[in-house]
Every structure is written in structure tokens, then in C-alpha cells.
């Protein structure tokens, strides 16, 4: 069968989500942000909530998320996305409000905001991108950086006596009464991306049912600052990140 006979509109099985805009993403080649954006877009499209969703973009590489998802957005000061999401959800309780934050934003400068928003049980969705490094500013050590990991500010590897231990913020969040769904996923292959999509969908559904805060961590790569190719970065993540940050649901009620 000729390729031209296959490539017809009626045979299309997968394409770009209509919620994604046509802008070319500014992310580095192979960056996991693009994959997670796409999964969020697909969930919003499947649930038919494009005009009812408000995203809160953080400070970090994904500050420009509002250029790529065709929904309403707000942009928060560094780390303050959960505080802004709290206000947005309380003022517009019929909307779906989610924050999209990296590990520098959520686990470092925004620790107070995320802990208290989750403890209050705000009916928001938190998408937490954990790549164990500060991506936008040039690869400095983040709270989530693994022991021994080389970054711009730990050139000989992270040392526990000097830099402290990596922060498992998702495990901390799971302890809080206000959260209803806490999970850790990844997007390095098709199977894991589909699981992450299911988790994001569940989080949005929880938000509609006013069950509390849903927290979805996605373990991601930052191949530019890890100084690896995109495919090797995925392998490095599987070998080094997953033993310390095991995947799976931590809380589901």
C-alpha cells in the first residue's frame, strides 16, 4: 500500500491537540516540558474544559507556558503560583485552576506557598516538574538535586555535609490532610506518558468534585544542563532519578 493512500484525513489516529497553539516552543530539543504541555492540552481537550481552565504559570523555563496552551493564564511571582491559584479558585469556583511549577519554583522559593495551599486543601491541581536542577538560570543546584550530582554550583557533586540532602517534597505533601491525590509520574516513553495523562485527568476530575488538592509530580529531564543528549538524559533519569524518586501513587482518596 502506498504512503499516499494511508495519509488521508479519515485515517488520522493521532495529531496535535487543538488546545496547543501553533507557536514553536522555545524549549531545548527533547525537553520534557513540551511533552507535559501536550498531555495537559489533551486532557483539557478531552474533558471539554478549554474555556473553563485557568493556568498559573511559574517562574522558570515554563514561564512562557501561556504561549503554548490556548487557555486563560496568570503569571505568578517566583514560587507564588499556589497563592495565586488559591485566589483564582476561590473567586471563580466553577473554573478548573492548575499551577505548573518546576522544582526550583515549587520546592525552593515556593515551599511555604505550596505546603500551606495543600494543607488548606484548596481545590486546585498542581503539576510539579522535577528535573533536579535549575534549568532556566544555567543549571544550578536545586533542592531536589541528587547527592553526587554535578551542577554549576556543585562542580564536584552535591555533598550532604555541605549542601544538605535532596528534598522529597512530594512525600511531604502526601502527609498533609488537605491533599486528595498525590502521585509521581514520568514521560520518558509512550507508556509512562499515557500513565501521566491519566494522572493529570484524575487530578482535574478531583478538582471538579472539590475533593482537595491534587498534586502530580512528573520526573523530567533537563538534557541541556545535565550535559547529555535527550535520549541519554532519559536513560540517566531512569538509572539515577527513579531509585530516589520512585514512581507511583502516594495517596488517592
Amino acid at each position: 500500500m502506498d504512503i499516499k493512500d494511508i495519509i488521508k484525513p479519515e485515517n488520522k489516529v493521532y495529531g496535535k491537540s487543538p488546545v496547543l497553539t501553533d507557536n514553536i516552543m522555545h524549549y531545548c530539543p527533547g525537553c520534557s516540558h513540551g511533552t507535559v504541555h501536550k498531555l495537559i492540552a489533551e486532557v483539557i481537550d478531552e474533558m471539554g474544559i478549554q474555556d473553563k481552565t485557568i493556568g498559573i504559570s511559574p517562574v522558570g523555563c515554563s514561564v512562557f507556558a501561556y504561549n503554548y496552551l490556548d487557555i486563560d493564564w496568570q503569571q505568578a511571582a517566583h514560587g507564588r503560583a499556589p497563592a495565586l491559584a488559591t485566589a483564582t479558585k476561590r473567586l471563580c469556583p466553577d473554573k478548573y485552576v492548575f499551577t505548573y511549577q518546576g522544582d526550583g519554583d515549587l520546592a525552593s522559593i515556593g515551599t511555604a506557598e505550596i505546603i500551606h495551599a495543600c494543607n488548606r486543601g484548596e481545590n486546585i491541581v498542581v503539576i510539579f516538574i522535577n528535573n533536579a536542577i535549575y534549568g532556566m538560570t544555567g543549571g544550578q543546584m536545586a533542592p531536589t538535586t541528587l547527592l553526587g550530582q554535578v551542577t554549576a554550583t556543585t562542580p564536584y557533586g552535591r555533598r550532604a555535609d555541605l549542601n544538605g540532602f535532596p528534598l522529597k517534597i512530594t512525600e511531604l505533601i502526601a502527609q498533609l490532610e488537605g491533599t486528595c491525590y498525590v502521585t509521581r509520574q514520568s514521560v520518558q516513553n509512550a507508556a509512562s506518558a499515557r500513565k501521566t495523562k491519566k494522572a493529570i485527568r484524575k487530578a482535574f476530575e478531583n478538582s471538579a468534585m472539590n475533593k482537595g488538592t491534587s498534586f502530580v509530580e512528573v520526573v523530567c529531564t533537563c538534557n541541556s544542563n545535565w550535559k547529555l543528549s535527550p535520549v541519554k538524559a532519559n536513560q540517566w533519569m531512569v538509572e539515577n532519578m527513579f531509585p530516589f524518586y520512585p514512581l507511583g501513587d502516594m495517596k488517592d482518596r
Binding site: 494511508i6 488520522k12 491537540s17 516552543m25 513540551g34 501536550k38 509512550a190 535527550p230
Partner: protein, 73 residues
């Protein structure tokens, strides 16, 4: 019944990261030696006969540049 697939890559938006290539179970996808307007190599069907239209490549593509078509024959 066999499944036959094909992909279309938006070559101007593709950044040639190779994640689709590493996720392709049938080794259909290759990365070109040519480059697009931005200077990136791009994904293409190096072995079009092998494609089953499984959508794995498009699911993991960070830039959402792959469209997948599939027919049953």
C-alpha cells in the same frame, strides 16, 4: 488483519531530539542528515514499510510535530 501506518512530521518545527526514534518499536523513524530552517535535523520515516501506526512517537514528541495515520489491510 495487519495494521499499516504512516507519520507526517512538521519538519520546520521538529528539533531532531531523537526521542521518537528511541521510542519507535519498529525502527521506522530516523533522523535526517539535512537540516530545517532553524538548523535542526528532523525526524523522518527511514523505513516506511515497518510503520504500524502505534502512535508511540507522537505521544512522546515534546514539540507535538508528528501526526499519525493508520489503516487496516
Amino acid at each position: 488483519m495487519a495494521l499499516k501506518g504512516a507519520i507526517v512530521v512538521d519538519t520546520e518545527k521538529c528539533k531532531g531530539c531523537g526521542i521518537c526514534e528511541s521510542n519507535c518499536p519498529t525502527k521506522t523513524i530516523g533522523i535526517s542528515t539535512e537540516v530545517n530552517g532553524k538548523g535542526y535535523p528532523f525526524a523522518y520515516m527511514a523505513n516506511p514499510d515497518a510503520c504500524t501506526g502505534c502512535t508511540n512517537c507522537a505521544t512522546v514528541c515534546p514539540d507535538s510535530v508528528i501526526t499519525v495515520y493508520r489503516v487496516k489491510i
